[in-house]
């Protein structure tokens, strides 16, 4: 057909399909994942009344800017690059579909369809075939067609059509041709395999071919390496915690130079974090000094001229602090970790707890929206949320210096702050009731969440039976033993009722509104395990009244840390402390002392489980058991010797007498001599 070895897509039959496949392969998964994201987000919003804004009764001084920030976030989420690409992809798909539906397949050698050629249905009888053939051959017969006014090309086309009509007729009537057609899809029998290019010929052989070559060269030599290298740089420039490598490097340096005798303050932490490379990505003109001053003015709640820039800076800071916590934990530095958590919640609550002694003292009260250190009656000893809600020394309105309606709102807000109370915390080795040496263990913490309004904690025996059965004691099923952390994962996500009003990035709060747990060795006060977030817990306890709370309606939650290192090889008691700190709120922390008692109990020989008796002493099994130091059944020796010893010797004698008569005679002879 053509001179070159390849066939080209002259009739534009193939390339739309080719392009359609290329577009759909990445488009469909991308769309599905987008849809899934939207759906899960929508259900999240529907399912709970949580994460409410408290803007109805309290507006922070920079409310307008915060709202603007949130709005821009929301907009950018809908109209971001990837969403546009997906939309574009579907537009292209639609166009391709239109194009494909308009393609009429012209008959050629490659798609031979005798019925179509003869313009009959494929169920037509022989008679119909014949008439159709006659009609068409009359029409296209080279002798019948008036070729005088036609160009050579047209004449060729008519010839080709006639040949095809003949072929089609034969394919339907002649036996051998029909067989060929059925077998190979072609009446001429098997034809050579052909390779096609899904591009029209003019693109390759015509004058445009240098451009195509250029495009290919660009694609392979320039664009592909660029894409790969930019992707690789992106991967390389971020650490596992998704912070810039330079930032991680800086945090690392801070930790290496950490001076144990120096007390660190929130201000120091902000200074450390202000060197992060991420801030420069927000605005290339930002210096670390500027970032530091912005952060400091934010936690001091001082208005600034450049509020939107400050909110941008503030919104990424907790993420950096979380990564810093992980790095500090890798350096086993407990003091830094705890201060970093403090800095984290200082940012979330926009409260500088190290500003002065009074702010530090009243930090739990001052985190509540609508409170102000200048209005609070600081002579009163109301330092905790619990005291404010349960046993205030004076009227809360007088103490807080606000009107009654606001007090009510503040109290409601305070009530919704989750506290944590531990029931049982111990080291567990799956399948054992003690901790053997060199085993893989986990920490098992059973706790309840409660509101600061609740007094003390319910007795274990007061809890509902099903709670104790299913939540306190875990079922010892094979699955639980295999994966002890499964129980934790199956719990509900932590959701809080009210959003802290100052921090601009709601999504961050939604994902991090839990506690972080550090395991610390009492001996040297060093962190021994990678810190882990408590992200799942049942917060329904917070809604209970005191009556319900104390009487059995509490739900118990579980938290576990799988220890990376095995339990010590030496038997003994090892002292630890589990430090649990809330990432958002002040005053929701606990420390739990923990003892790991490593014991080496010998394996109980399960004698009676199968009713197997100890092996006899004189059997092989008995000998093996004795070697292993296991008990065996004693045999009464003396009796056996007395009763059967003689018989044995008799038998022996008989045996010997048969064989060795000669020697006996000789011996006898000697004896006689």
């Amino acid at each position: 057909m053509s001179q070159s070895r390849y066939e080209y897509d002259e009739n534009s039959e193939t390339w739309p399909y080719f392009l359609l496949t290329t577009v759909l392969v990445p488009l469909v998964p991308a769309t599905l994942s987008k849809l899934y994201g939207f759906v899960s987000e929508a259900t999240d919003k529907d399912s709970s009344s949580s994460f409410r804004s408290i803007k109805k009764w309290f507006k922070p001084y920079n409310d307008k800017e915060i709202e603007k920030f949130k709005a821009s976030r929301g907009r950018s989420r809908l109209f971001n690059k990837s969403n546009c690409l997906v939309a574009l992809g579907w537009l292209l798909t639609a166009i391709l579909f239109l194009k494909i539906s308009s393609i009429t397949l012209t008959v050629s050698e490659t798609n031979f369809d005798p019925w179509k050629i003869l313009e009959i249905s494929d169920s037509a009888t022989e008679k119909v075939i014949k008439t159709a053939y006659r009609k068409l051959s009359l029409k296209f017969h080279p002798d019948k067609v008036d070729t005088s006014s036609m160009s050579q090309k047209e004449i060729d086309a008519v010839d080709a059509a006639y040949v095809l009509i003949n072929k089609a007729y034969k394919a339907l009537t002649d036996e051998t041709v029909r067989e060929n057609f059925l077998k190979y899809g072609n009446p001429d029998g098997p034809n050579e395999i052909k390779h096609g290019i899904a591009l029209p010929k003019f693109l390759i052989d015509g004058p445009t071919s240098p451009f195509l070559v250029l495009i290919y060269v660009l694609l392979i030599a320039v664009i592909l390496p660029l894409v790969v290298s930019s992707w690789w740089n992106g991967v390389k420039s971020k650490t596992k915690q998704n912070i810039h490598v330079n930032t991680a490097d800086h945090f690392m340096k801070v930790m290496i130079n950490a001076n144990p005798s120096k007390m660190i303050l929130i201000d120091d932490i902000l200074e450390y974090v202000s060197h992060a490379a991420e801030y420069v990505e927000i605005d290339s003109t930002l210096s670390s000094k500027k970032v530091h001053s912005l952060l400091l003015s934010y936690i001091n709640r001082e208005p600034t001229k450049d509020e939107s820039l400050r909110l941008n800076v503030v919104s990424i800071t907790p993420r950096l602090l979380s990564a810093f916590i992980e790095i500090a934990a890798a350096f086993k530095n407990t003091d830094y970790c705890i201060k970093l958590v403090d800095a984290h919640r200082s940012i979330i609550q926009a409260l500088n707890i190290d500003k002065d002694a009074k702010t530090h003292k009243f930090q739990q009260i001052l985190q509540l929206p609508g409170t102000d250190i200048s209005k609070i009656d600081t002579t009163q000893n109301i330092l905790t949320l619990g005291k404010l809600l349960k046993k205030p020394t004076i009227e809360p309105s007088k103490f807080l210096g606000v009107d009654e309606a606001t007090v009510k709102n503040i109290q409601d807000y305070a009530k919704s702050i989750p506290l944590i109370e531990s029931y049982e915390c111990s080291f567990k080795v799956p399948g054992e009731d003690f901790v053997p040496p060199n085993s893989s263990s986990h920490i098992n913490l059973k706790f309840i969440t409660k509101s600061p309004l609740h007094k003390s904690r319910p007795e274990l025996k007061d809890l509902a039976k099903n709670v104790i059965e299913s939540q306190f004691k875990e079922e010892e099923s094979l699955e639980n033993l295999k994966d002890p952390l499964k129980v934790v994962e199956e719990q509900k996500d932590i959701v809080i009722d009210n959003l802290p009003p100052f921090f601009p990035d709601e999504d961050y709060i939604k994902q991090n509104c839990g506690w972080v747990a550090f395991l610390v060795a009492q001996r040297d006060n060093k962190i021994v395990e990678i810190p882990k977030m408590i992200k799942k817990a049942d917060l329904s306890n917070l809604k209970l009244t005191q009556e319900q709370y104390i009487k059995s309606e509490c739900q118990i939650s579980t938290f576990k840390i799988q220890l990376q290192s095995p339990t010590p090889s030496a038997v003994g008691e090892y002292q630890f402390r589990l430090i649990i700190r809330n990432l958002l709120y002040f005053g929701s922390d606990i420390d739990i002392p923990l003892v790991m008692k490593v014991e080496d109990k010998p394996m109980d020989v399960q004698k009676d489980v199968y009713g197997i008796e100890d092996p006899d002493e004189d059997s092989i099994a008995g000998a093996m058991a004795q070697l292993r130091g296991e008990p065996v059944k004693k045999i009464a020796f003396e009796n056996e010797y007395e009763s059967s010893g003689d018989e044995d010797s008799d038998e022996e004698e008989e045996l010997w007498t048969d064989i060795d008569t000669d020697t006996e005679v000789e011996e006898d002879a000697v004896d006689e001599k």
Partner: protein, 204 residues
Amino acid sequence: MATTVLPITYDSTSKKVSLEETVPLSSSKDLQLEISQINTLYADFIKANSEFPPPPSKEAFTKNLSMMVKKMHESATALMRQRQFADAAKKFDIALGLASARSKFEPFQPTMSELIICLMGRCDAYTNANMFVEALEDAEVLVLLGSQIPDNHLRRGICNLNLGEFLSAKSDFERGLAFNSKHPILLKLLEICLKIIDEENGDN
């Protein structure tokens, strides 16, 4: 490797390194600290008057200084008995000054204990004189130096309790109990601490 030239000069008469005057003090705190450390070490090295500092051994420390520290400690404890805590703290302070005035090339292992004993004394004196912030500083150092001594945690716990850091106090007492679970004072104070925490939460 790029070499950075530090803004420092060496004065051969006083035999000391010093920071150039053009450098603002605020931006060179770490450097200042390192320079003072070098100067102290070098001064001690000159005093040693030998090519190499004497090799560290158990006996190679100035015994006279130990005697003086001991005497100062004794007089301070006598003041403690007379309940003159502020004066006692001053005496302990002097004793500590003496103990830390040793040549830096002396082995510190045998002399560490006298430092710790003096620090304990000063911490207790401050606590009894109700100077809890100063006492807490000492207690922090003590916890770092001797973390396995329950009494050090007791000291820090008492300071934290008096400074209103009840949660820290509680974990201090618990940490002390980890090394001696039957320590009567620690047990008593932990109980008091828990009561105070409950009261502060409006729970009692």
